[in-house]
């Protein structure tokens, strides 16, 4: 007779729907209600490291931009520490490492300003290349999608990254790497996320 194990079961996910902004970014829905919306300042004023901008589109299976997606960002600081008790070390005052980003309703473009994270200690003492952890929800997405954005100018670190190297299909590894350009003296990383197709972005079961 098997031992009875008294565990609960995780609540099932449901789509965030088209009006996710009401709950998570009401200003975008067209009204002010809170003293402060959350997730608009990822790094804070005291963060060390390189100030960067990240921009992109989320593109659906027929090639159209998804114009109602909400993305959350979770990242380490320039020293590779997360703002969390198990995050590996101290972070600067005001560094949250978390952001909430919405797309433009007309164009689908999204973007945010932050600092470039440092390498993060991974499993078995193997360093992970600098990366942003992303989580996407929208109408038509039944359960939030997790992916990572890596930096195109970190060729050497990316080549050794234990997570990128998990992806057997080498062609797909490129879907996680943002391209870098300079605009008005600020590095801008471009990262388009494709939900379907030959170049579908790699998503992770974490």
């Amino acid at each position: 007779m098997a031992q009875k194990l008294d565990y609960l079961r995780e609540s099932a996910s449901q789509t965030a729907g088209p009006y996710v902004h009401i709950g998570l970014a009401p200003g975008a829905a067209g009204f002010d209600i809170y003293r402060e919306e959350l997730g608009w300042d990822i790094a804070g004023p005291n963060a060390k490291g390189e100030r960067i901008r990240v921009e992109g589109l989320v593109i659906d299976g027929i090639g159209s931009p998804v114009k109602d997606v909400l993305i959350e960002v979770w990242q380490a600081n320039a020293e590779g520490h997360y703002a969390h008790p198990e995050g590996g070390g101290e972070v600067e005052e005001g560094f949250r490492g978390w952001g909430r980003v919405i797309t433009d309703f007309d164009t689908g473009e999204w973007g945010f300003d932050t600092v470039k994270p440092g390498p993060v200690m991974g499993r078995n003492g193997r360093l992970m290349a600098p990366h942003l952890n992303l989580w996407l929800v929208s109408r038509g997405i039944n359960i939030g999608l997790n992916t990572r954005m890596y930096f195109g100018d970190e060729t050497e670190a990316n080549a050794k990254d234990p997570v990128i190297n998990l992806i057997e299909w080498e062609k797909r590894r490129a879907t996680l790497i943002a391209t870098r350009e300079m605009r008005d003296g600020i590095p801008v990383y471009r990262f388009d996320i494709r939900l379907q197709g030959d170049d579908e972005t790699v998503f992770f079961d974490i």
């Binding site: 565990y7 099932a12 709950g23 995050g87 978390w98 200690m121 972005t201 790699v202």
Partner: protein, 238 residues
Amino acid sequence: MREYYQRDRRLHPPALTPDYKTSVARSPRYSMISLQQSASEITGPTFGHNDIDRVDNDLIRNYAKSGDPVGERIIVHGRVLDENARPVPHTLVEIWQANASGRYRHKKDTYLGALDPNFGGCGRTITDAEGRYVFRTIKPGAYPWRNWVNNWRPAHIHVSVFGHSFSQRLITQLYFEGDPLIAKCPIVATIPDQDAIEQLTAKLDLNATVPLDSIAYKFDIVLRGRRSTYFENRPEGN
């Protein structure tokens, strides 16, 4: 490194659910890559009482301009727990919903139902040390939506919970016990497991009502559980 249990995806909707049409072009087709968790997954944003105001969890008051919102006054309360049945304290819970006539205060909502000048439709709170939360609000109305020609969403409240790690992040929906539309809804039906649907159905809780004021529903939210740390020969906390 204390990992979170693997997510049991049989309880969750798959990505592609053709009866919910929007999923067709928005569902990834390749298999997800399974990750062993690292600091990137076992950490997540933390929130404090400085982030929110006391009235934020009272949807009857937090947007009122000229009086009370119209509709059935309700209390929604419960606990945020993990799969080990431990409370998840001090975590942010955010909700959003339509008003009593089924209309959202969103510039993209064009439904005929009337907007309510005294109802915003969103609230947020932080769970207490025992993982408890409470909201006061108006029972949302059902509304039609463009999927099949004649689809109606059951009354529902959207619920967003963080937990303590990025891997626990969850958005779900709360439905109300006894609503005949639950069984007809293509979005509810994306969930393949009937018990999992039942778990999203808030139960009438007469003990938590405020007599002659508000009726109450109880809704517990379960996030992923975490393995115990093995300390010498004994699992800590067990």
